[in-house]
Symmetry: C2
């Protein structure tokens, strides 16, 4: 069911949940992809939402979509060994299979209530096409990684990448330890010229900290600061190993927390979520790639995002609403779009959850249920830019696509 | 669909997965609740399982079923504050609501692929009846907790509790810090006389360690050892704060790991899984109660069971198969039943998973998928003691039951 250019109403939504407010039994009028009205108004087609809880779309701020092909391929190693194994495979990663991987990940994310994602890989043109096909907001770019690609070639390619309705280019830099200083300077120049944001893994492992400190005499965050990169147009992913004084350098930036991936790869750090949150750093949430998670379910990610904080800091300072805000409003802040919060004038990027599977269903327990109990399997419908799709329809598409993995591998 | 006393065949199971072996395209003949044959034989009714992956039933070795009523009620406190809040509610916990809580938890566990559970609460007679109704293996007893119950009264009650096909009594002791030494001696006597196992929370928080050391001069595990309780008939839950030398005292015991609950309650410990596993301690897995998890999904628990180890020990020593063994074979070892492993002669406690939702589906990735990717939502059918139930049917029952929460609360 695609509804887009005309007006329609999500009628009688049982609950509408933002990170700081809950509305009961209300309608949402959607027109041209925008939330036109929140309240008792009814316009256009009516969709009975009395069995749904409506939440803002979830943003997966860091993933590597094609790597779903590598899900389960190599799970029991720490990051550096794991990365070498991935790169070995990726050298011969068939282009069609890579695209199919992105396609499957996109469908899986849609099914689980993800309305936008930030991707780091080598096939942004596929992602661009797929974003238009599936009407999901995608942010991707060519990736600087010196051992795999000539940075000047990437620079050139990146300049050719143009936005569409659903796709926006970003400047992917793998990490401080896999590119040279001159590559980082290229990225900085692109950042200024194209007004795109730089998306980079940083301070993920103790090994990285050690090596960068040895090479440059400073920690990775300090190093990026010295290069003038720590501005509003940078997204720093992982940040599990940072010194307290580095937090102050991040004030204007976005950082992305990938709790599951960090745990699985035994990076062992402690992402200082509470401190950064209170200092105004824009914290976002990512599953990381499906080869290091191995799911693409932001509900589970929110839960263990809270729980990992509790484990590491021996307190309960971080609560459900922090992660809900991080996965919704903060995500859209990174994307520079008026979403992640359900209100009039914002974009209609929404998720419809089955209220019958959430119990005991009381208003004051809702945020808790969404973070600590819900999984993507409760999402029954997704709306992006006003376009509504039902779970069933997406599941059928996904089933078809997964069959193609084996066809491609055997061809 | 109930098939029980006659013979039937799970035909052409796409994969049959044990922790250390995988069989492809094979049949399972079930007769009188027992796996009669594994191979090409066909007997009785045939059930096409070509779209299923069959695994042994998962054992939830520690939960508090009625507390599903308290799911989402109070999520943001450390253990001692949280417990006080729970006890406050529990003083006036309506008996019917308590039973309904157990019923809902049982259905939720069945739906998620749990074939047996160990329960600590105050309504073992309800649990006994429900176990027979829903044909799930339940292990429960009256609970020693001195501030709530007279231990001599509990002792007397416990002696009246008798087993049935699906229910077995166990001796529940809340913890070392909530009962007196004389209560523990009562439990020890029951353990010997009734040949039931003692199920106790122990070494969960640093506060507990501190208080017990101060009171008795030894750590909690040492204290239980001094009382002669560390034998084959004890199950120690949590064990996140133990000294290395205490591990040796646990050799003959069962311990239960509850990673999610420990994280959520910020207990901050490190469960020494790898060491204990290699020293032959029978490690099992529990969700803990739905008020401290807040899910009852052992697939997710297996995943974060591995991941928490990696976070705390900065290595990848613990792998998918460890947790799969812990949740299956080790669980049945605690129950003293020949299950948790699919082979001829073992009991037919099995879970049927939708193979189309697991991809890329390769034999050598299966254990990884089951632990790192699958959730209970992939379970399509469950067999306990030879009785097969389909997800749909259980979901309908659950939906009905959850509606009764509000009826009971408003009556």
């Amino acid at each position: 069911m695609e509804i887009y250019h005309h007006t329609y109403t999500l009628k009688n939504c049982s609950f509408i949940v933002n990170y700081d407010s809950i509305i009961e039994n209300s309608n949402i009028v959607i027109e041209d992809g925008i939330i036109k009205n929140l309240g008792k108004e009814v316009e256009g087609d009516e969709i009975d939402c009395s069995n749904f809880i409506v939440i803002p779309g979830l943003v997966n701020a860091h993933t590597h979509t094609p790597m779903i092909i590598l899900r389960g391929y190599y799970d029991d190693a720490e990051l550096s060994e794991w990365l070498n194994k991935m790169w070995e495979f990726e050298k011969n990663f068939d282009k069609k299979l890579m695209r199919l991987g992105s396609e499957i990940s996109i469908l899986e994310m849609l099914i689980n209530g993800t309305t936008a994602f930030v991707d780091m890989y080598f096939n942004p043109l596929d992602v661009k096409e797929l974003a238009e096909i599936y009407k999901i907001r995608a942010f991707a770019g060519f990736t600087f990684l010196d051992s795999l690609n000539d940075p000047y070639f990437i620079d050139k390619l990146q300049r050719t990448l143009t936005p569409t309705t659903y796709f926006k280019p970003i400047i992917n830099v793998h990490s401080v330890y896999t590119v040279s200083e001159s590559t980082l300077k290229l990225a900085k120049q692109l950042q200024e010229e194209l007004n795109e944001w730089v998306h980079i893994h940083v301070s993920e492992t103790r090994k990285e900290i050690y090596e960068i400190k040895k090479k440059y005499g400073v920690f990775p965050i300090e190093y990026l600061n010295n290069l003038g990169l720590l501005n509003r147009k940078i997204q720093l992913v992982h940040v599990g190993w940072i010194a307290s004084w580095e937090i102050d350098l991040l004030k204007n930036t976005t950082v992305t927390y990938c709790p599951t991936s960090n745990m699985k790869l035994a990076t062992g750090g402690a992402f200082p979520l509470y401190d950064m949150f209170n200092k105004g750093v824009n914290i976002t949430l990512g599953t990381d790639g499906p080869a290091s998670n191995n799911s693409l379910d932001l509900f589970i990610e929110m839960k263990y995002g809270v729980l990992l904080q509790r484990q590491m800091y021996w307190n309960t300072d971080v609560k459900a609403w922090h992660l809900f805000k991080i996965a919704t409003l903060n995500g859209y802040k990174l994307l520079d779009l008026p979403g992640g919060y359900i209100k009039e004038g914002n974009i209609a990027d929404l998720v419809l959850l089955d209220k019958n599977k959430i119990y005991p269903l009381f208003r004051d327990r809702l945020l808790s249920h969404l973070v600590y109990y819900a999984t993507g399997s409760l999402a029954k419908g997704i709306i992006i830019n006003g376009v509504l799709r039902w779970r069933k329809e997406l599941e059928n598409l996904l089933l078809e696509k997964t069959k193609q993995i084996y066809e491609l591998l055997n061809s």
